[in-house]
């Protein structure tokens, strides 16, 4: 593990801001899980990271996931740990929600709903994108 991760990415100038774009639903593939593990690692290492849930990625935040029989961990439970890891910027695309008939009240309350223009602004202003 490179020790300089923390030093070089804690810069507050925003020039190194990493945007994690989460576009896949949980459970069907491990992409959602692996994107969250990336976010957890960023939090644990003190790397500044923002998460954007868009398209099917918004299902990751859907409330009341009940994993009993399927061979998976509860994705919603893992996601809700992110603030404790210091990952606070969790943003959800409004359009993706409305396309799927999801109300903001159906989501875990750790994420903030943003509109189309805010999504564009976010994409335009990050330094690098990790696409999941």
């Amino acid at each position: 593990m490179n020790d300089n991760v923390t030093d070089n990415t804690s810069a507050t100038d925003g020039s190194k801001r990493i945007l994690l774009v989460c576009r896949h639903a949980p459970y069907g593939t491990s992409l959602a899980r692996e994107s969250i593990e990336t976010a957890l690692a960023a939090g644990a290492l003190g790397v500044d990271i923002t998460l954007l849930f868009i398209n099917d990625g918004v299902w990751q935040l859907y409330n009341h996931q009940q994993v009993s029989v399927i061979a998976a961990k509860n994705h919603g439970a893992m996601l809700s740990a992110l603030p404790l890891y210091g990952v606070e910027r969790l943003l959800v695309d409004e359009k993706s929600l409305s396309e799927r008939g999801i109300k903001a009240s159906n989501l875990t309350d750790i994420a903030e709903v943003i509109d189309k223009d805010q999504v564009k602004h976010l994409l335009a202003n990050c330094k690098v994108i990790l696409s999941f």
Binding site: S80, A81, G86
Partner: protein, 110 residues
């Protein structure tokens, strides 16, 4: 490897983690702590209970930062500090305390 506790044989890996989490008990915790040269008292148990609660809630074994934050949110700022946890579970509190608390080995490969 095998850890013998009151006549029961518990399988542990070479890092000292229980192979079967269901084998965990308070007695097992004491034995696991002994492997780390730690004698558990009520200050340790308070943290162990929190770790088990963390795992039940989030399905994760915490890294150091979330552990400190979680302890702070539950027990206040005096105990929610890495130095406090370091004194109880040296040298690497998240790893050592998770092991004693019978949580899976953190795999976040940090």
């Amino acid at each position: 490897m095998i850890l013998e506790i009151e006549g029961k044989m518990l399988a542990i890996d070479e890092d000292g983690h229980l192979l079967k989490l269901a084998d965990w008990s308070k007695t097992a915790a004491c034995a696991l702590a002994e492997q780390e040269n730690i004698t558990l008292d009520e200050r340790h148990w308070e943290i162990i209970d929190l770790l088990r609660e963390f795992h039940a809630t989030f399905e994760l074994s915490p890294a150091m930062r979330p552990l400190v934050n979680y302890v702070r949110s539950k027990l206040g700022g005096e105990k929610g500090r890495s130095i406090y946890l370091m004194q109880l579970f040296p040298p690497s509190p998240a790893r050592v305390a998770s092991k004693i608390a019978g949580l899976p080995k953190p795999e976040n490969c940090l």
